[in-house]
Symmetry: C2
DNA sequence: CGTCGCATTGATATCGCTCAAATCCGGTGG
DNA sequence: CCACCGGATTTGAGCGATATCAATGCGACG
C-alpha cells in the first residue's frame, strides 16, 4: 500500500500545490490546516535552537507524509519549506478527520498507511544507530530489497542524497560501496546505478 | 496523548504478558495476531542478514507500540524478543480492526496516536543524522523538553541506555555532557540525573 | 565488609570527515 | 560532429572525533 491510494481518495477534496526551492509550506505558529503528502521533491520541517542553530525535525520525500503531527497540535512549533522543487498534496484536516470518523474502511486503511510509515521511519532510525558505514549500507540494501525477490536495487536518487539519508558524506558512501564490492558483498552495474546484494533477498517488514 | 489511553480501551479485550530477558514474543514466520504495546521494559525485532549478522529492525520501550507492522503483513519476517524483563499488552488485531472500523471516535484517536509515534520516530532519525555527539545531545534535549515550559529533564534511564538511543557509546555521551556543561550550554544536577538546558525551552512537535 | 553495577577517567586506534583535485558524463551551442 | 561547460562521481591525503580498551571510583545492597 503506497501513497497513491491516499492521493486518489482525496483527489476531489484537496489541492495539489507546486513549490519552488525555499518556498514556505507553513510557518512557525501557523494553525495546522492540512495534512501534506509529498508527491515529488522534498519538504523539510525545522525549528531553531535558542542560539539560532537550525534543528531539522522532519524531511519528507516522494510518497511520504509531511507535518502529520499537525493533526494533533494547535500550532506549528516549526516551519515547513521545500529544499527542492516539489509538488505537494494538501489534504484538509477537517475533511480527513470527518472521513476517518465516518468511514470505517478508510479509517482502517489510513491506520495501516500510518503503520507502514512508522515502520519505515523505525528502520531508518535503527540503521543510523549502526556506527560503521558499511553496516548502514548493508542495512539499507537489506531493507530496500524487501519483497523484490532478490532483484537488484535501482537507484533513482543521486549518490549525494543517498549518503544524506544514511548520515554519511558522499565520499564516504562511495568508498564504502567500492570496499563492499571488493569484498564481493555487493555487485555494481550500470555505472553504479544498479546494485546487486550478493546472496541476499529476504524481506524486512516487521 | 500517551499510550495509557490505548491500554485502557483494550483492558478487557487484551491480555498483559510478562516476559523475561531473552523470551521470544513472536518468531520468524509467525502469523501476526497482536498489536504489542510495551508497558515496561524493552522489546526488539530483528532479522538476520544472509551471513548471519543480526539486523535490528525495531526497538520499543515503555509506552511504545511494537511490531505494529504486523497489522499489514501476513507473516513476520523477523523475530521479536525482549532485551529486558518486560510487560507487554497484547491487543488482538481482529479486535483492533473491528474497533477502528466501527468506532469513528476511536479510529480518530488511534490515528492520532500513530501520528505521534511517527513524529517521535522521525525526530530520532533526524537526530542521528547529526554527526557530532554534542549536536545529538542538544537535539535530544530540545525535543524532550517539549511543552515542559523550560523545566529540567529528569532522566529515568541509565546513561548507557540513553547513549544507545543516541547512537553513541556511554563514554562518549558522558564526555560530551561534561563538555557541554563546561561550555555552560547545560547544567547538571542531582548527580547527573537532572539536566537543565541553559536558555532553552521551546516546544518541538511539528 | 564485599561485591556488583554503573559512572567516571585516561590512553590509543580507527573510521569517517574535510579539503582538494582529477575525471567522467550529459547536455549545449557552434 | 565536435568543443566546451557544469554537475556529479571518483580519488587522494591528513585530521579530528568517536570508538575501544583498560582501570578506577562510588553508591546500593546483601
Amino acid at each position: 500500500m503506497n501513497a497513491d491510494w491516499l492521493q486518489q481518495v482525496f483527489e476531489k477534496e484537496s489541492q495539489e500545490s507546486a513549490y519552488r526551492t525555499g518556498d514556505f509550506i507553513f510557518r512557525l505558529g501557523d494553525a495546522p490546516r492540512y495534512l501534506y503528502l509529498v508527491v515529488s521533491g522534498e519538504a523539510r520541517a525545522q525549528r531553531y535552537s535558542p542560539d539560532g542553530a537550525e534543528i531539522v525535525m522532519q524531511r519528507a520525500r516522494t510518497g511520504e507524509l509531511f507535518a502529520e503531527a499537525g493533526m494533533v497540535a494547535p500550532r506549528y512549533s516549526c516551519e515547513g519549506y521545500c529544499t527542492q522543487p516539489a509538488r505537494i498534496l494538501l489534504i484538509p484536516f477537517d475533511k480527513l478527520r470527518a472521513r476517518i470518523q465516518s468511514d470505517g474502511e478508510f479509517a482502517l486503511r489510513f491506520s495501516q498507511f500510518l503503520t507502514l510509515s512508522l515502520r519505515r521511519q523505525c528502520a531508518r532510525y535503527e540503521r543510523l544507530r549502526l556506527k560503521r558505514a558499511s553496516d548502514r549500507v548493508l542495512h539499507y540494501l537489506n531493507c530496500e530489497l524487501t519483497g523484490l525477490a532478490g532483484a537488484d536495487l535501482e537507484l533513482d536518487i543521486p549518490l549525494a542524497d543517498w549518503a544524506d539519508d544514511l548520515g554519511l558524506e558522499p565520499e564516504t558512501l562511495y568508498r564504502t560501496l567500492a570496499a563492499l564490492e571488493k569484498q564481493k558483498l555487493i555487485r555494481r552495474e550500470a555505472r553504479g546505478r544498479r546494485i546487486h546484494l550478493v546472496g541476499a533477498g529476504q524481506a524486512c517488514g516487521t
